[in-house]
């Protein structure tokens, strides 16, 4: 009983110390960049909630993503629509899974997707303050607010809010505001840093 108490106290102490250490990783853009320096690959599950005035409740999508430095990304929705977006070696493709199998989406806007890839790559590598498209503002509570620099972009996206995890190098959530009543929230979980992410994930679409 006594041992348990001691263990609890130690645990709490350890948690507090660890929390302070982790809080410290996001005090400045330099610290964030340094923490993300060693990130070579990331994989995670995500839950996407689309909030719109027209919807009685948010539209929830679920999926997984894999990132491998320098510029490979697989962004895959499992539900409600099964789709796979792959960016690898400068090629961008999106496939939709129908009853008949995988169908390539040929309407994909390559220019937009290049920009999205650039953004995601920069975020995952911790580069926020040298972003050509957004002005970054680091707020209290490990929150980064990105505001479009160009008016043409701000017509589509008002701002993006990124919440950093207490775990160095990890983004906890992203909220993309098109307007105050139209926004998309992405929550990441089961984040794995520098695990073995095979190149075939970006080449072979199954």
């Amino acid at each position: 009983m006594r041992a348990n108490k001691k263990y609890d106290a130690l645990s709490i102490f350890a948690i507090l110390i660890t929390s302070y250490l982790f809080i410290g990783w996001a005090n400045s853009f330099e610290q964030i960049e340094k923490a993300a320096e060693g990130v070579e690959s990331i994989s995670a599950e995500f839950i996407q909630e689309k909030h719109l005035k027209i919807l009685t409740e948010p539209l929830v999508s679920k999926g997984v993503f894999y990132f491998k430095a320098p510029r490979s990304l697989r962004w895959e929705y499992i539900s409600p629509i099964r789709s796979i977006l792959v960016m690898h070696n400068g090629n961008i493709k999106r496939f939709i899974r129908r009853n008949s199998g995988l169908t390539e989406d040929s309407s994909i806007n390559l220019q937009t997707m290049q920009m999205v890839l650039q953004e995601i790559t920069m975020w995952l590598k911790g580069h926020f303050d040298d972003n050509p498209n957004f002005t970054a503002d680091l707020k209290a509570g490990r929150k980064i607010v990105l505001t479009p620099k160009e008016e043409s972009l701000s017509m589509m996206i008002k701002r993006i809010e990124l919440m950093l995890s207490s775990r160095p190098g990890v983004i906890k959530s992203v909220t993309i505001y098109e307007s105050e009543d139209s926004f998309t929230n992405l929550e990441f979980r089961k984040v794995r840093l520098n695990s073995n992410v095979e190149d075939s994930l970006f080449r072979e679409i199954k």
Binding site: Q48, K50, L52, I54, L55, T56, L59, S61, W75, Y77, P80, I81, S83, L85, R94, I96, R98, T103, E104, D105, S106, S107, I108, M156, I176, E178, S182, T184
Partner: protein, 221 residues
């Protein structure tokens, strides 16, 4: 050469248009049943529908988006939002007395696109505006109701015996301009309104294109 192509296309269009399919008049005892069944495709109450949409362009290329539609038959109003699978809203418009575009990102930003889209939604989900002038059966036993509008356009509502229905729109030269095929998951009944699980819309003409809508969610509001 281009002139000959154009002539051939015009000739083909002329040949393919000009007369509506003949309807075999239904026997008097089933007329009321035909009329009742012809109302199956159309909504009576306010619904919110979410679809995945596959668009096939005239060149065969495909594009995918998500469509959210709120349809209120009582007021004749429609609110439609189109977004990418990733959730970026590319189109938001409302239809009441006229079409109002709240948001439109190229290529979804034109008034013509918005009007065409609203007309398609009306054609699929709202009872035709025109007068019911004929009803009967086709050779295969399907029930048909024919609605004629003041501008000479015609809408045929065809209810098949296999849980599917077809809506055909003809212009004022009796050319088939649009066909909608609806597939439901269970047998339709008049008393229990049902939203089709799959809709296929084909826009006919020289630049034929099609949309396939798969229902993700339907909610009675």
């Amino acid at each position: 050469m281009k002139g000959i192509d154009l002539l051939l296309i015009t000739l083909m269009l002329t040949i393919s248009c000009g007369s509506l399919p003949e309807l075999e008049p239904g026997n008097l005892s089933i007329i009321s049943d035909i009329h009742e069944r012809c109302s199956i495709p159309f909504l009576d109450d306010k619904w919110q529908l979410i679809h995945s949409i596959e668009a096939t362009m005239p060149d065969g290329k495909k594009g995918f988006v998500v469509g959210i539609t709120v349809i209120a038959p009582q007021t004749g109003t429609i609110h439609c939002v189109i977004m990418t699978i990733e959730g970026l809203v590319v189109f938001d418009a409302q239809y009441g007395q006229k079409v109002v575009i709240n948001r439109g990102i190229y290529p979804f930003d034109s008034v013509d696109f918005a009007k065409d889209l609203m007309n398609n939604i009306k054609l699929v989900f709202l009872k035709p505006d025109g007068e019911l002038t004929e009803s009967g059966m086709l050779n295969n036993g399907s029930y048909v109701c024919r609605y004629r509008n003041n501008d000479g356009t015609v809408v045929d509502v065809i209810i098949n015996q296999d849980n599917t229905w077809i809506i055909r729109h003809y212009n004022n030269r009796s050319c088939l301009t649009r066909t909608i095929r609806a597939y439901s998951r269970r047998k339709p009944s008049v008393s229990q309104k049902m939203i089709p699980g799959r809709l296929e819309l084909t826009s006919h003409g020289p630049a034929e294109h099609s949309l396939v809508l798969e229902l993700i969610k339907a909610e009675l509001l």
